[in-house]
Each structure stands twice: as structure tokens, then as C-alpha cells.
């Protein structure tokens, strides 16, 4: 294992991130180290000294800790969107799916309502654009459809 790979392995051990984020973070740090080493070599240092200098300037311990802090957990807005959006959309669908007298509409009537498509499209795009990671968006969609079955589909069956 090369010096840089060893350092990246040490950094990886400090972090507990999802695989995609970890891959991107390590790729960025690898690029940094490679460029720093190349610059130090060009300035006349040997490979070992160049790597030592690059690592000292990078601050491996602090970087691992702060990268973990930067990526661990969601902010308040993220949490509200992740939890609140599926609930809100499922409730809107429930409101759309039932006529004022409480009887369930059929799919043809539901699909003819623009509001249905707005909710469906919003539920599809907002998580994807907000979170970028498709896994997060998928988790939110799964929650949405679970709630939709619970709030809309099951009650409609009973009518």
C-alpha cells in the first residue's frame, strides 16, 4: 500500500459515512495529497519528506474529525423535509382522494385532478433535488408510499 493509500485508510477509520460520501471525500483528499506531494517533490524534497510535509499541512486527525462532523446527521431543514414532506403529501392525497361526502373517488377522477399531479411531481423532485443522494430520496418515497397506503388506499378500500 502506498503512503497516500495508508493515510487514506487512517482517515477512513476515523469516519463513519455512507459509502458514496466516503468515496467522494477520500477522492478529494487523495487529489489534495497527490498535488501537495508533487509540488513538494518539484521543490526538491524526496518522496518520504514530501509526503510527511503534505500530511503535516493537511492535519489528518483534525480533518477526519471535522469531515465526520460536517457530514454526520442532517440539519433541521433536512429533517423537517425528510419527515414532514411525505406526511404532508400523503394527507393532501387523502384530501384529494375523498369526495366532500367522505366517499372515495375512483382512480380516473383522482388522475384527472391537476393537484394530484402537482403533489406526485413535487414528491418525486423535491427529495431528489434537495438531498441529491438517490438513496435518501428513495427512503423518503418509500415513507410517502407507506403513508399513502395507510392514509389513502386502505381507507378507500373500506368504502
Amino acid at each position: 500500500m502506498s503512503g497516500i493509500e495508508e493515510l487514506l485508510a487512517r482517515l477512513r477509520a476515523q469516519m463513519d459515512l455512507d459509502a458514496e460520501t466516503e468515496h467522494e471525500v477520500l477522492a478529494e483528499i487523495r487529489d489534495h495529497l497527490e498535488e501537495a506531494v508533487a509540488q513538494a517533490r518539484a521543490a526538491g524534497l524526496d518522496e518520504r519528506a514530501a509526503l510527511a510535509q503534505a500530511v503535516a499541512r493537511l492535519g489528518l486527525e483534525e480533518v477526519g474529525r471535522e469531515l465526520q462532523a460536517a457530514h454526520a446527521g442532517w440539519g433541521t431543514a433536512d429533517a423537517v423535509i425528510a419527515a414532514g414532506l411525505p406526511v404532508l403529501c400523503a394527507l393532501v392525497l387523502r384530501w384529494l382522494a375523498f369526495a366532500p361526502d367522505g366517499t372515495a373517488l375512483g382512480w380516473p377522477q383522482l388522475l384527472s385532478r391537476p393537484a394530484f399531479w402537482i403533489v406526485a411531481l413535487g414528491m418525486l423532485l423535491i427529495p431528489l433535488l434537495k438531498f441529491e443522494r438517490w438513496r435518501y430520496a428513495l427512503a423518503i418515497w418509500v415513507l410517502f408510499w407507506g403513508l399513502t397506503v395507510l392514509f389513502v388506499a386502505l381507507p378507500a378500500l373500506h368504502w
Binding site: 467522494e24 471525500v25 487529489d31 480533518v63 469531515l67 457530514h71
Partner: protein
């Protein structure tokens, strides 16, 4: 988090936003560090790697846009550009900075900016 750590984090954030707004072109992490060092004439010392958590936080907040560029199998780099929201935040931060320094200068009896 200590006051010093908070100050370092806060100032690094506004310095990054200012640099990217000034450059008005995509820059990658190492390039940002080099440019900061050049502009500060090596007087601004910090652990270089600490720029990355700040860049990632700014990206998550929508203040920076990040994009990987380069060929598959070749060298790929993550380039950052400031967003419109980032420019608005920078303006607010700079305004706050000017106000703070003017107030401290008055308290210390130091001649501030004209």
C-alpha cells in the same frame, strides 16, 4: 467547540465565499488553499485539510455548487462555484464584519476605515 474554533470556522467560511466570488470561476480544494496562501502572503495559517469540511458544509447549505470534472479513470477533481445564495450570504457577512470592526475600533480608539 471553543470560541477560537468557532471564529476560525466562521472566518474560513466567509473567506472561501469571498475568494470564489472574487475569482468568479470554478476552483478545486487545493487550488483554493494555494490562492488563499498567496493572497494572505502566507500570513493566514491553518491546517489545509480543514478547508474541505467547510466546503462541504457550504455545499450542503446551497451556498456553493460542486461538480466533479475530469475523465473516468483519469484525474477527477471536485470544482466549487459560488451560488446566488452564497453571494447574498457573503454580502450579509461582509456587512456584519464591517459593522463589528467599526464598533471594536471605536471601543479601542483605533482609527477605522474612512
Amino acid at each position: 467547540m471553543t470560541i477560537q474554533e468557532q471564529m476560525r470556522k466562521g472566518t474560513t467560511t466567509v473567506i472561501i465565499l469571498n475568494l470564489l466570488a472574487d475569482a468568479d470561476r470554478p476552483m478545486y480544494g487545493y487550488e483554493i488553499i494555494q490562492e488563499l496562501e498567496r493572497r494572505s502572503q502566507s500570513s493566514f495559517h491553518f491546517k489545509e485539510g480543514l478547508i474541505y469540511p467547510r466546503l462541504h458544509e457550504l455545499e450542503r447549505q446551497g451556498l456553493l455548487h460542486a461538480e466533479w470534472r475530469g475523465e473516468e479513470g483519469g484525474r477527477r477533481r471536485k470544482f466549487y462555484t459560488i451560488t446566488d445564495a452564497g453571494r447574498r450570504r457573503l454580502e450579509r457577512e461582509l456587512q456584519g464584519w464591517r459593522t463589528l470592526t467599526a464598533q471594536v475600533n471605536r471601543l479601542l480608539g483605533v482609527e477605522g476605515e474612512p
